[in-house]
């Protein structure tokens, strides 16, 4: 087990290295360049040349790459060209917001999606199954930003139940040691802050969670409807076990593998894809930060972010693979 984890972690090194090469050249192939965006329309050629010199963009590209990787080795992701702050600091500041929203979205998708998909799979062809499947189709097709605006309108404006903007009520006087606002509320023992931060997460979480929800419903349904026809489920029935035991131990456990894979992939997508939701709900997360960085071709920020996402994907995939072993003993053996 430990050897497996170490080996997999080791395999991540060449992956990330290869990716760093690719993305380093890729961001530089994009049309436009940071100095032009920085200096604006009236920039003189001299000004741009001077700017390129300051940031080292005039040096041969290989040399730039070596410098970049050298800095990476020391844990230095470089500084934003636009904002002049270290990329790492910006991430540590903004990532918690994105992680919080993604976690809520995924939680919502799992807690609702697995039971719904399970039910639909067990009662295939029935009225509820049809309803759930068409509902999930709607969930996949509805654009996130549209749903977000709809939710805001309904819950916040019409019903006045939930906050629409930001992560916390500005009138609260709160400390943020970790930048995970919900967690901060718990750590500082400030219940109001905790509650307020949680309420702020509901609507963005719902909006961001619908697509993963729909996908989880469909995968669970497909997987369950396959497993219920397995011979061992019939054996379980022949033992006279209660339907609860049959469902949990014999159907769900076997149907879970593809569901876990999907959840892992969705988590990666959520972390990198929360831009729209963050914009609509005005959440100061990495999504907005990245959006701004793309606009000005902020190379260090783009490189840092893509590397980070790749790292997250690798780690999540590793966790998914490890969970296979927990679920299915046959995977453990090999």
């Amino acid at each position: 087990m430990l050897r497996f984890v170490v080996r997999r972690l080791g395999l991540m090194v060449p992956t990330l290295f290869g990716l760093s090469v690719l993305l380093f050249f890729w961001v530089r192939v994009l049309p436009g360049d940071p100095c032009r965006s920085l200096l604006g329309q009236r920039a003189t050629p001299e000004g741009i040349a001077r700017c390129n010199e300051v940031y080292g963009f005039d040096k041969p590209i290989l040399e730039q790459y070596v410098t970049y990787v050298g800095a990476l080795m020391r844990g230095d992701f470089g500084s934003s060209i636009d904002l002049h702050e270290p990329v790492l600091d910006a991430f540590l500041n903004k990532l918690p917001a994105t992680i919080e929203v993604s976690a809520v979205a995924l939680l919502f998708a799992i807690v609702l999606g697995v039971p719904l998909g399970y039910y639909a799979g067990r009662h295939q062809g029935g009225w509820w199954d049809t309803t759930i499947v068409s509902g999930s189709l709607l969930g996949v097709t509805i654009p996130v930003f549209f749903l977000a605006i709809l939710l805001k309108y309904l819950f916040a404006r019409q019903l006045g139940l939930l906050p629409t903007q930001g992560r916390q009520d500005a009138r609260l006087d709160v400390e943020h040691p970790t930048n995970f606002y919900v967690l901060d509320g718990i750590i500082t023992g400030n219940f109001d802050a905790f509650w307020d931060a949680s309420l702020h997460l509901i609507l963005p979480g719902l909006a961001l969670g619908t697509i993963p929800l729909a996908i989880i419903v469909r995968i669970t349904r497909a997987s369950v409807s396959e497993v219920v026809h397995e011979d061992y489920v019939r054996t379980a029935e022949a033992k006279g076990l209660t339907s609860g035991t049959i469902n949990r131990r014999h159907v769900l456990r076997n149907a879970l593998l593809p569901v876990v894979t999907t959840i892992g992939l969705q988590l990666g997508l959520l972390l990198s894809g929360a831009v729209l939701t963050e914009t609509v709900f005005n959440i100061d997360g990495v999504g907005q930060y990245l959006y701004a960085a793309i606009g000005v071709r902020d190379y260090p920020v783009l490189q840092g972010f893509i590397l980070f996402i790749a790292l997250m994907y690798s780690v999540i995939n590793l966790l998914v693979d490890l969970s296979y072993g927990l679920i299915d003993p046959r995977v453990r053996a090999s």
Binding site: Y232, T235, L241, H250
Partner: protein, 355 residues
Amino acid sequence: MSVEYISNKPDERVDVTLAGDQERPLLEVDKLAVTFSRRGSTPLQAVDEVSFTVRAGEHVGLVGESGSGKSVTALAVMGLLPRRGVTVEGSVAFNGRELIGLNISAMRNLRGAEMAMVFQDPMSSLNPVVTTGKQITEVLRRHRDISKVDAVTEAVDLLRKVGIPDARRRVSEYPHQLSGGMRQRVLIAIALACNPRLLIADEPTTALDVTIQAQILELLKGAGSQYRDGTCHDHPRSGDSGGVVRAGPRDVLGPHRGVQRAARAVRATAASLHRGADGVHPRLDQPRGEPLQPIPGSPTDTLPWSQGCAFAPRCPNAEGDCRMETPRLEPSGSRALRCFHPLTSDPRRAGRSDA
């Protein structure tokens, strides 16, 4: 499919039989019919008016071509057919209690405890993600008031009883770590766990190689005498008496030996089946390499089948009346059969002329 059968006396081999149970059969299947219907296609009658009884201590075998409905009969008795798209008619009385239409929770109380089933394919009939021990203890704990620790001890005992070496280690292993024969033994252990009164074995050896087949059959026979009550097999070699199952209401019935031969005859030719079923099964005095003569076609060829003899389209002896109405089951020597035009009943001569 239809089967009726005449039982012979309980075998002496089965030592323990309860006197009281002699009066009333343990299992009475009467005119059991199973129809599969799917939207957009004509309903398919897989089992047509099957009747047979199993007495306490008796082994009963159902034999027939593949597709003739043996497994469906077994599943119908256990109430394991899917509820949607399946119509089960007739009567299945277990210990005097009607099972058809019995509610699901009462049925679940019977299954595994009073009646148990060993399935056909040991490779797929065990849950791959649950330890073998758990798969045995869960049935013990479901039907008996027994602690976790005691259940494990008993599971180890059961595995030992069905001949699995190193049982203590095996309970914590998963099915994929066991060979096919061992998995079948585990399935048998599960079926025997709560001392069921009726054990249904649905071709328990099909997936195994020949030496293991013999071992498993011995084991089941032993189980029959040890556990005192009826067994119902789907295997041609292991019945005291039984019926030949066809995709239609014609059968040969009779005590053990005759039925065994009949079973082989089913694989041989329909005509020889009518003769007394002795004709064309493999014989030692036949020259080597002599080809067997199977019934042409398969049961599915005759579907959808509505009236007349189920074998009419495939039988060389069939005449007009065979296609018009279903022959009755009539005694013929020590057996009974359904046929309008049986051949002469001297099996030896018939066999020769046929081969």
